[in-house]
């Protein structure tokens, strides 16, 4: 096995992505320092478009949580939150974020921030989990600022008219409360424009992810987990659109020139659940070393809101944010996964059971066995956590992953599929 195999072929767009993200944080810093714009904190799949349209700079604590995880600092902060009454069994984004706040440390300080930008308002959507409400409420109490949100029904099977209308009206109900904080009144045309931008950004992000349908794939999960930054924090802005045009062009160019994300792609894996942020780089190398590309994931696909429609901004927002994978029933999830297996020519599935994120672990209610019985695609379950490395056994997981890839290599006909 050559050392070169584990070398990751970096996307050249990284530089543009870093600039896009750097500019985003500079705008936030400017708002925090000068007060020229109000700052809203938003959950990662919250109503970002509404906030951007009303002139807020928007900060996403989950993005901050991922930064703490990727920086391998989460376990330094989680115990502080635990000492303040937050269970180590709840979301480790939450505990690491609150812990770092209590210790007055943040990776943003390296960018010149004094601390995380003080919120003027906090806005959540419980479509992803209830933790976001408790998380934001901590800061609302601390800063004595309003916290508000959308309470989306959970485990949605059918997206009924009743659900959509209910959530759409919750979007509308936020407006008078936000206007009390914002520097500008709500403007329907600005909102429609922002929804249009968000739609276009999401379409580009979908196209980016869909380049991985190509064999070999020009992008893998580990790239996507990094390059999803702009669609998470700048959804509804031109900045995200501009960036994903650059990334998409590079990926299309890679396909044209037969450049693959993993130099010798033989196996194509679907990743379910959260990334292990503190293991991103070592896992990318591990899979590359074994000629395996993770071509699609539940996590990265979660930021495709292409149902957004500027002609009907409230209803389409409700539809897009209720259609989200994480908020759907297992029956719906099973159908979505089934289609993805075919679309992306998947050889095997890895389910990451995240200790502190049951909502984003899809092997808890037998789905993995049902899908296996239906599709006969081998799967592996690994135990870990999105941010808390104390819940993860690296050596055991490496053995499991290497064995899984050996298992795939024994599947009749799999090697014939590979077209390099």
């Amino acid at each position: 096995m050559s050392a070169e195999k584990s070398d990751i072929i970096r996307l050249e767009s990284v530089a543009a992505m870093q600039k896009t993200m750097g500019d985003y944080f500079n705008r936030l810093k400017d708002a925090a320092e000068t007060g020229n714009k109000k700052i809203a904190w938003c959950s990662s799949v919250g109503p970002a478009e509404l906030l951007y349209s009303m002139g807020f700079e928007v900060y996403f604590p989950e993005n901050h949580g991922a930064m703490l995880g990727a920086g391998k600092n989460a376990d330094k902060y989680i115990p502080t939150a635990v000492a303040h009454g937050y269970s180590p069994d709840i979301c480790s984004y939450l505990t690491s974020d609150i812990g770092s706040f209590l210790q007055n440390e943040t990776p943003l300080q390296k960018m010149g921030f004094e601390s995380v930008p003080k919120p003027d308002v906090l806005v959540f959507n419980t479509n992803q989990c209830r933790e976001v409400e408790d998380w934001f409420s901590f800061y609302a109490r601390h800063f004595d600022v309003p916290v508000m949100g959308i309470h989306t029904p959970l485990n949605i099977n059918e997206l009924s008219e009743g659900i959509i209308q209910n959530v759409a009206s919750q979007f509308k109900d936020l407006i008078p409360e936000l206007e009390k904080v914002a520097t500008q009144k709500f403007d329907i045309d600005k909102f429609k424009h922002t929804i249009g931008l968000s739609h276009d950004g999401c379409v580009l992000w979908r196209q980016v992810l869909e380049t991985a349908k190509n064999i070999p794939s020009p992008i893998n999960f580990f790239d996507a987990a990094i390059h999803m930054g702009p669609i998470v924090v700048m959804r509804g802005t031109q900045y995200a659109i501009d960036y994903y045009k650059i990334l998409l062009a590079e990926l299309q160019n890679r396909i044209k020139n037969k450049i693959s994300a993993v130099p010798e792609e033989k196996f194509r894996i679907y990743w379910d659940g959260m990334p292990l942020w503190y293991q991103l780089s070592s896992m990318a190398k591990l899979f590359a070393r074994h000629d395996t590309c993770i071509v699609a994931s539940t996590y990265c696909n979660s930021w495709i809101f292409d149902d957004l429609d500027s002609k009907d901004p409230f209803v389409s927002s409700a539809l897009a944010y209720c259609k989200l994978f994480i908020v759907r029933s297992d029956d719906v999830k099973e159908k979505v996964l089934e289609k993805l297996m075919t679309d992306f020519s998947i050889d095997g599935i890895i389910y990451h059971e995240s200790k502190t994120c049951a909502r984003n672990s899809n092997n808890l209610y037998g789905l993995q066995n049902r899908l296996y019985n239906k599709l006969n695609i081998p799967f592996l379950e690994i135990n870990g956590d999105l941010n808390d490395p104390r819940c993860y056994s690296e050596e055991q997981t490496i053995i499991a992953i290497e064995t899984f890839i050996s298992q795939l290599s024994n599947q009749v006909g799999k090697l014939d599929k590979v077209q390099l």
């Binding site: 296996y372 081998p378 799967f379 592996l380 379950e381 135990n383 819940c391 993860y392 056994s393 050596e395 055991q396 053995i399 499991a400 290497e402 064995t403 899984f404 050996s406 298992q407 024994n410 599947q411």
Partner: protein
């Protein structure tokens, strides 16, 4: 020339010396300790004093890539499956109970691994669970297997967590429970953790250092499953499988 398979496990390192006809010539097991290189070398030294060894050697386990001599590393799960299929030549399920890991492996009628699962991130259901409790009770784990034969009734141990299980056992001691009955509870706890890994519907093979050293655990499995077997010296099967796998390539 003899080929050498080494399974560098978390607790013990197992070596199997194999002749040109794939017959096992000798076995050796020793504690792994904190130095995989030394643990592997100890096995190599043990065999090389009487036999000529062919390099590379074939390895698996946590320390599979921690050797200073030429080696080819393998997955211990694939290696174990190879030996099991070689021995039984049938579709089966394997429960392998080691020092730190418990594994469930489903082998199809072609000898391929269809599915496998490893224990969750704690000592429950592994050898460490037994050893920690033995240490706390100040009874040699080796003695457990003799003592358990005197059990008159089972005491149920509920805790997954080793530390909580020990607290639970302290409560039992305070309430006058007999040690053999407590040990039966400990053994049954290990069996329970294994049984919940997957429906064990196929012919069941029990392997690993724990059943080798605590054969009463095998009896508990056999009480529950009609079609169940555990080969002798099963803890060496993965090391042997490493050699078999590499004969084929």
């Amino acid at each position: 020339m003899n080929k050498l398979g080494i399974d560098l496990g978390s607790s013990y390192t197992k070596g199997v010396l194999v002749d040109e006809n794939n017959k096992i010539v000798d076995y050796h097991v020793s504690k792994t300790g904190f130095d995989f290189i030394k643990a592997a070398q100890k096995i190599i030294d043990k065999f090389s004093s009487n036999h000529e060894i062919q390099y590379p050697v074939f390895t698996c386990g946590y320390g599979r890539d921690q050797l200073l001599v030429p080696y080819v590393s393998n997955s211990e799960i694939i290696a174990l499956s190879r030996t099991v299929f070689d021995s039984y030549n049938r579709k089966c399920s394997v429960i392998d109970i080691g020092g730190q890991d418990t594994k469930y492996i489903k082998i199809n009628d072609q000898g391929q691994v269809d599915k496998f699962k490893m224990n969750r991130k704690c000592a429950a259901g592994t050898g460490s669970f037994i050893e920690e409790i033995a240490f706390r009770l100040d009874v040699s784990a080796v003695e457990f297997n003799n003592l358990v034969k005197q059990a008159t009734e089972e005491v149920k141990i509920n805790s997954f967590c080793t530390v909580f299980a020990i607290s639970e056992i302290i409560g039992m001691i305070k309430n006058g429970f007999a040690l053999p009955n407590i040990i039966l509870g400990i053994y049954n706890s290990v069996v329970e953790r294994c049984v919940e890994m997957s429906p064990l519907e196929d012919y069941l093979i029990i392997t690993g250092g724990v059943p080798d050293n605590h054969p009463e655990i095998i009896r508990l499995f056999k009480n529950r499953f009609n079609n169940c077997d555990s080969p002798e010296k099963s803890q060496f099967m993965a090391a042997y499988g490493c050699v078999l796998l590499n004969n084929e390539t």
